[in-house]
Symmetry: C2
Subunit: 231 residues, 2 copies
DNA sequence: AAGCACCATCTACCATGTCAGATGTTCTTG
DNA sequence: CAAGAACATCTGACATGGTAGATGGTGCTT
């Protein structure tokens, strides 16, 4: 049996709910967040909400303006470029380590993720495709077996996940190319060719950055309709 | 004149004080931290202390055990290896970007840091040497001109800074080799040779990791005497 | 009508109170 | 004397209250 079973603190579940609401698009980019209002919506006190917002600020999902209010982050094409560049740095370093350390496990995970992407595409399930995509890149990070690196990645990727949801609502992205690029990376990993994998991965994330830039310049502002937080 | 002058929130100054106390060695590794005791020592309420501890936990300097207490982090040779590996990843990526983006400014900063190290060494000022060392590596990160990367670096480097203070109290480290290694990196940057700079930088941080491992295995636990927090 | 001072209102910041869980000690019991 | 139960105490989790600062509107002044 498992060692313990620690119920998540109210603090954590609150942070999870708010993060989810932002990433899933229930809260518009730049939307105003009030400690009091969120506390009322979630049925908790202001304390856990305050802690949660502070944690989300560290993740880059929320910006807190002293005495003025908390707001969902607003994308900025320069910041998005920085995030993508950082992402490339972490993923390429991770894939090199992963190919060195446990190539077979990494290959297995990437293949499974590619299959999941294909299935989601066949089923016309964009949400499932996104999940499989995240799973693919997460497998790369995990394969490096370095918690410090993984922590950095998690702290950096949330805004990008949110942007994907907010900008690609109508499935603007080219999933066919995306899928084939994933397969190319998989093959490079299978061949234990880190340099090729890195090159392909860089190009892949670069294409994502391009898509972000294109959609950011057209939409100008995140004007997705705000929605309520679900229990 | 400057746009504004926002006084730091009590929250931040509290976090700064506690962080400083840990990094400077005033608080022993693994020392027990009580919200109440810290609040009394610093003359503030428990709220800012609580927020500060949460922030420091995100930095890896503090671990909070629910309902049990907060403690200064305790080093673990495996975790230290991971931190150093992560550090190499970020610094090597940064130096490559820096050489591409603004090599002259980077060269200037690195040269200045090397001079400061030399001066500190001549003056027998280990604390000054450490500061110059941090300045050197920070210049590399800043040169990449990527805030996301810089944020990751800051969040990762604090425990390493603290370890340096706690483990190298008697100046165990080989400052002569360290200085020469810094100069080699400087020369590679001056020559705009990213591959050589990366190789040298990896070796340099690798030596640091070795030193950490050596001292960790001998001391087994951080038993530096605890001290009071200064105003 | 334009500009400015005043004020109602909203915000996060910080202080304090209350409570349940974790721990160390003492007392009881075999 | 050993082992376990009951208790006192310490901790952080969470709730709530008070306050300074920021904002937006209103009415007065010119």
């Amino acid at each position: 049996m498992q060692p313990v079973e620690h119920p998540k603190s109210l603090n954590e579940v609150t942070a999870d709910k708010i993060r989810n609401a932002i990433v899933e698009g229930e809260l518009a980019l730049g939307a105003k967040l009030s400690e009091q209002r969120l506390a009322d919506l979630l049925g908790v006190s202001r304390s856990p909400v305050r802690d949660a917002l502070a944690a989300l600020q560290a993740e880059g999902l929320v910006v807190i303006s002293p005495k003025r209010g908390s707001f969902v982050f607003t994308p900025d094409s320069h910041v998005v470029d920085e995030l993508c560049e950082h992402r490339v740095i972490l993923e390429t370093a991770a894939v090199r380590l992963g190919i060195t350390r446990n190539p077979s496990e990494l290959t297995r995970q990437l293949a499974a993720s590619c299959d999941a992407m294909q299935s989601a595409l066949d089923a016309g399930d964009p949400h499932g495709y996104t999940r499989a995509d995240h799973q693919f890149h997460n497998a790369i990070i995990e394969s490096a077996d370095n918690r410090a690196l993984a922590k950095s990645y998690v702290l950096m990727i949330s805004p990008l996940k949110a942007l994907r949801t907010h900008l690609f609502t109508i499935m603007t992205e080219n999933t066919d190319r995306s899928l084939s690029e994933h397969h190319l990376v998989l093959n490079a990993v299978r061949d234990k060719d880190p340099d090729r994998a890195i090159s392909l991965l860089s190009a892949h994330v670069g294409h994502l950055a391009e898509a972000f830039r294109a959609n950011l310049s057209t939409s100008q502002d995140g004007k997705i309709s705000p929605a309520t937080l679900e229990a």
